[in-house]
Structures are given as C-alpha cells and as structure tokens.
Assembly symmetry: C2
Homo-oligomer: 407 residues x 2
C-alpha cells in the first residue's frame, strides 16, 4: 500500500479550499443541528443513497443535483429527517439547496442536501432558512469539528478521520466526517458520511471508487439490521492538488482507492462502535470462502444475529450461536471444515475446529470478551475469498433508547 499517513488532529477543513461550519439553528433544543460543507473551488462529487423505497426528500433532491458537473456545497440538518413528508418535503429540500446556493453565490444544482432526525414532521422552514443564512456567514477553514458535531443525533462522539498520501509527488488529503445510528423519537437509525479531498479525479472515476469502497465498508456494518430512509454517503474532490487527473483505473486510481477504502472502513468502524447502546465493537473476519458473495453473506449473517450480539453483551463465548448464524446465511460452505476463534489484544482462542467444539481456556475467553474490541475469526477453508464486517453488541440500552415511552 502507498504510504498513508493518518493526520490525528486534522479534519475536513484542513483539506485545501474546503470550509465548513456547524451551528444551532433551533430545530433541536440546544445542540448544533445545521452543517454546511463548502468548497471554494469547483469540485466533482459522487454519492450513494439509501436503497429504502421510502427515500426521504433530501435523498430525492440530492439524486437530482448530483447530476451536475460541479458540486460545491452540502447542507445538512439534524433533528428532522424530512422523510415521509410528501411533495411539501421535496419542495423544502429544494428550498434548502436554493437558500444555500444564494448565500454562497452558487446555483441550486451545485448544492446537495442531507437530513437526519424525526421522520414524518414538516421541516420548520423559517428556522431552517434563517439557520442556513446564518451558517453561510460562519463557514471557515476551522469549522470542520463544528460540522462533525452538527450532523450528530444520538451519536455519543463525533466521527472523523483524515489521511494524507502522495500522487505524482503532490500531497493529497482525504478527510471524512460521519454520523451513525442515532435515534430521535420517532425515528430510525440514519447513517451519513461526507468525504472531501483535493485530489484531481474525474467525476466518473470518483463515482466508481466510492461505489466500490462503500460495498466493503458502510455496507458491511450492522447495528440493528434496519436500513434508514435517509442514508447517504457523499464524496467531493476539488482537484486543487494538481496531480495528473485520474480518469481511468491507473496506478494513481489504485492508490487513491486504497486510501478511500481505509478511510471509509475507519468511519464505518466508528459508526459500528457507537451503535445505540453498544458496549463493544465486534469485527468478523471471514476467511477462505469459495466466493466473495459467500464471504460477505457469512460475515453479515454473524454480525446481524441478535443472539450473537446478546451473547457478546453477556461476554459469553457462545460459538454455537455463531455457527448457527453461518448456517442460515444462505452462503455455500462445508460445515465440517469450519474453524472459529476470538482474538484481540488480550490473546487468541480457538473455540471450534473442523466443524466441532474444541475445549478451550474459559478464563482466557472471559478475559478476551471483557474487552471493548473483539475480532471473531472464521475460516471456511473452502476457497480464497475474505470479507470483514463490523457491528456491536445488543444491550439493555439499545432497547431503552428505542422504547422511548417506557424508558
């Protein structure tokens, strides 16, 4: 892999010519709820949207605006999802783009829109439009952290990462902020991720890279199996690094793609770790499947099992539930070949070998499971394809957060 440097204290506004802000507009009671990300220079953008048939209004509008060859801003509100709000909701999402565009001297089509929060309520447009106008006066090259805060719902920490690498001797910065599975009554988990870069890349290649990268990162995490109406990942590149433009799958594309994969996986892991009520990050490494599809089916089946997730909350070395969830994954494999181990900084312990239990040190298992990060390693010994999935345990707090009236 090309030398990739993680820049610990940097964020999206450390990428050249990107500015941002996050403010409190009044949709939420106290916390920041409105974010603008802006590139001073022209930029290409690519996006992936929820597959949910009830796509929220901002998804509809961003699907329209992403067609533009220039995308210079994203406006995001939290606290209200603008979902299931009918034609009025669509009008309001277009209005958010237009107000932002007017303030920043752009055309509406150059602005993308995202929302997260309560579903089914009309957006309070007086508050939102005033908020956007206010935010546009505050965007700055130090506003990245405020931006990361303003997109949160019940997230317990901001999610951000910045990496640096070289292309043609030019310094490329790639930085992302994300929000995870937060719940505001009456709503569902929503995942949003915004990635910016100074890389010089064509819109088509950015789109291909983003799509491929999402399949191995955000699409491999599960908090509770529910796909929101508002999920969205957007990538923007303003080309100011002046590297030779990436317009085919050349060496530079591969280097960029590796950096993008790393960044998206790290953001995906942060989202999994901050799943509602989560006490542990669980990583499933599925090795040696016959096909990539089988590898992904197996890894996602394990990470999505409520029984597996409850067992991890209980710190219970329950290989039975793990192999059971493999068994109903619809993947092809040979049950009699399977090995299962747990691993983390405490150690490594094999629980299951060649399709049967092996006796193991219960004390060591307990110590491994008491940690916050646990890797489940599954070897199908059936081929050469691997996949990794991330998730969290299922705790009392998940139920508490999501059963608001009784809690």
């Amino acid at each position: 892999m090309t030398k990739l440097k993680i820049l610990e204290n940097k964020t999206i506004t450390d990428v050249p010519y990107f500015k941002a802000t996050g403010i409190h507009s009044g949709v939420k009671r106290k916390r920041k709820d409105l974010c603008i990300i802006y590139s001073e220079k022209e930029a290409v953008a690519a996006a992936a949207f929820t597959q949910n048939k009830f796509a929220a209004a901002p998804v509809v509008v961003s699907k329209d605006h992403i067609q533009s060859n220039n995308t210079q801003a994203i406006v995001i509100n939290s606290g209200n999802a603008n979902a299931c709000t009918g034609d009025e909701g669509i009008d309001n999402a277009y209005s958010m783009a237009k107000t932002t565009a007017d303030c920043l001297g752009l055309s509406s089509k150059e602005v993308l829109v995202a929302s997260t929060g309560i579903i089914g309520l009309p957006l309070p447009m007086a508050i939102i439009n005033a908020g956007i106008k206010n935010a546009c006066t505050q965007i700055s090259s130090t506003g990245g952290n405020c931006a990361a805060e303003a997109i949160m719902t019940t997230d317990t920490f901001t999610k951000k990462i910045t990496v640096e690498f070289d292309l043609d001797g030019k310094k490329i910065l790639l930085s992302g902020i994300a929000k995870g599975s937060g719940m505001i009554h009456p709503n569902m988990a929503t995942m949003l991720s915004f990635i910016v870069s100074n890389v010089n890349i064509s819109k088509d290649m950015l789109s291909i890279a983003l799509k491929e990268s999402i399949d191995d990162s955000y699409n491999m995490i599960s908090v509770d199996g529910d796909t929101s109406t508002n999920d969205m990942v957007i990538g923007m590149a303003n080309k100011t690094a002046n590297n030779t433009i990436i317009d085919s799958k050349d060496d530079n594309y591969i280097k960029f793609k590796k950096a993008l994969d790393f960044l998206n996986k790290e953001l995906a892991k942060l989202i999994a770790k901050d799943g509602e009520g989560a006490t542990k990050l669980i990583e499933v490494s599925l090795n040696n499947a016959k096909t990539l599809k089988d590898a992904k089916l197996c890894a996602k089946s394990v990470i999505s099992s409520s029984l597996v997730k409850s067992a991890f909350f209980g710190e219970d070395a329950n290989w039975g539930r793990i192999v059971c969830s493999l068994g109903y994954s619809n993947a092809e494999f040979s049950p009699e070949k399977i090995d299962v181990s747990f691993q983390n900084k405490i150690g490594n312990i094999q629980l299951f070998k060649d399709g049967k239990e092996v006796s193991f040190d219960e004390e060591l298992a307990k110590n491994i499971l008491s940690e916050e990060h646990i890797n489940i390693i599954i070897d199908l010994k059936d081929g050469e394809h691997c996949a990794t999935a991330w998730g969290c345990d299922l705790s009392f707090d998940y139920v508490k957060i999501n059963a608001s009236y009784r809690s």
Copy 2:
C-alpha cells in the same frame, strides 16, 4: 369453511390410538426433558426441517427415517440439542430411535427423533437410554399434557391445540403440541411442533398439506430472526377415522388443509407470543400486494425489525419505523399509496394514509398499544395478495435471557 370445533381441554392423546408421555430423565436438573409420542396403529408421517446448514443430528436421522411408509413414534429430548456433535451425535440420535423402537416393538425406521437445548455437548446416552426405557413403560392415553411439558426449554407455557371436524360423516381429530424460542446457555431458539390426527390420508398428500401450511404459519413468525439448527415440524396420521382416503386435492383434502392451517397458525401465534422476553403478540396483516411474494416480504420485514419491536415494547405509535421496514423489504409497492393502522379490542386507529402521516388521537393509540395483542394493518392498495406474520416486542428481558453471564 367446514365446521371446525376447537376442543379446549383436549390434547394429542385424545386423538384415537395416540398415546404419549413426558418424564424427567436427568438431562435437565429438575424439569421434564424426555417425551414420546406413539401411535398404536400404523401411521403415515410428513415433516419439515430447519434450512440451517448446521442441521443437528436428530434432523439428519429424522430426514432418513421419514422415508419409511410407516411412522409410529417420535422421541424428543429437551435440555441438549445434539447439534454440532459430529459423527458421535449422529450415532446417538440413531441410538435414541433404536432404543425407542426396541421398547415399543417397532423397527428403528418407524421412529423419528427431535432434540432441543444446549448445542455442542454430547448427549449423555446412559441417561437418555434409561429415560427412554422408563418413558416407554409410562406412555398412556392421558399423557399428552406431560408430553407438551417435556419438550419445553425456556417456554413460559405449554403450547397445544386440538380441533375436530367431519369428513364423510366421520369425526376427524387434529391435535398439536409445540415449543417456541427458548434459550438454554449456550444455545439458540428452537421451534418444534408435533401434529397428530386420526385422518385417513396418503403420505404424499399429508406431506403436501404440511409443506403448504408451514409456509403460512411457522414460516411467518419471527422472534429474533435466528433460524435454529434443530427446527422441526412433524405430522402423523393413523387413518383410524376411516374416512375415504385423501389421496388427491379433492374436497376432503381442502377441508383437512383448512383445519391444518388453522391449527398451525394458532400454534405459530402461541410461539410468537411466548418469544423470549415478549410482553406483546404483534400481528401484521399485509393487504392488497401485487404478488404473494411481495405481501410476505413486507409482513416479515415489519415483524423482524428490531426498531419496530422496540417501539412496541415502549408502546410508541411509531409508524415511521413500520414504513421504513417496508421500504427495505425488497418488495415491490408504491410508497405513495400506503395506509397503516393499529387495531385490537380497544379500537382501530389510522396513522398513515396514502403514504403520509395523518393526525391521530394519541390517547387512543396509547390505549391500543397498552394491550397484549396488537394488529398492524397495512394496505398497499396495489393488488389482491395478502399475508399475515406474527412476532413479539423486543424487551429488556430478551437481552437479559440471552446475555446469560451478565444477567
């Protein structure tokens, strides 16, 4: 529908020539753990088995023995699933059938085997075989309730139903016992159901009827989305009613099938109601889908959503999560046409109409949701196909039961 009489206090041993027992053999500490169901007369049997690739040893053996044209007994142990136990497990399951056959004067092939309980531990065969011998001396025409008890794991009540109807002026009895999603560390939920009848039916037609009936009953319930290694439904018919044999899809087949459907749906609902930690039975009535597949996909997506289930535990009229789960169901429908209502003995309340929220009486919604049985009625207004699915809420106790070390 043919006149179907529910016989409140009857059970499987009230069906002519069926005997049964349930005893404590010693696999569990105190509670009954071994059950035998026996037909004194020759009988045909049909069965459906788990689709889990890690099918337990009793599944393997019963799949073999169901080939026999005569099936006169089922031996079931609870407390140990005999799953992931390798060749030794298979030998042990065959041995359970042989011991039962020897005691009852049958051949091994005439006995089916089922297990539920801890996964991955060898069956204690000395205890099991002694238990079977003991049980065979105790089978009787009053042992049905003990049998229903002996197949339980963490079920909180026995599940049984008996119905009566006429075919050719002959009295047909159809009776079933079942167990639901119980958890014994370290194990997963297992569903078992055993149905017996005096109906005269060919093995082929019994098999067709059972298969079709399962698709609309057991396959439409969800407690936590996990499919066990040991799931099994068995139907046995000893033909002693002397009706004209059902050997084609004639009128009598249709009458029998209706009774079987009713019985299986009632058992399925009891299983859903007794899901681990459940406080409510939720029924999803999905109406007017374009295809049956779409109807089932929608109904199962709603009943399987952790967010919907948590909202019901919280008695929260959260239509947003319901339409969201429809949205990711992979079914075809038009979001702008959808209606959603809640209904039960308290009343009926519409929350969502033509794809949008409608204002509703919060007090009435609260009262409806405070009941133990709630029907979610969804109208897609897109065709003529309907499906019903059953499930339960997701409570603190689900997590508690399944996170054994911390609870």
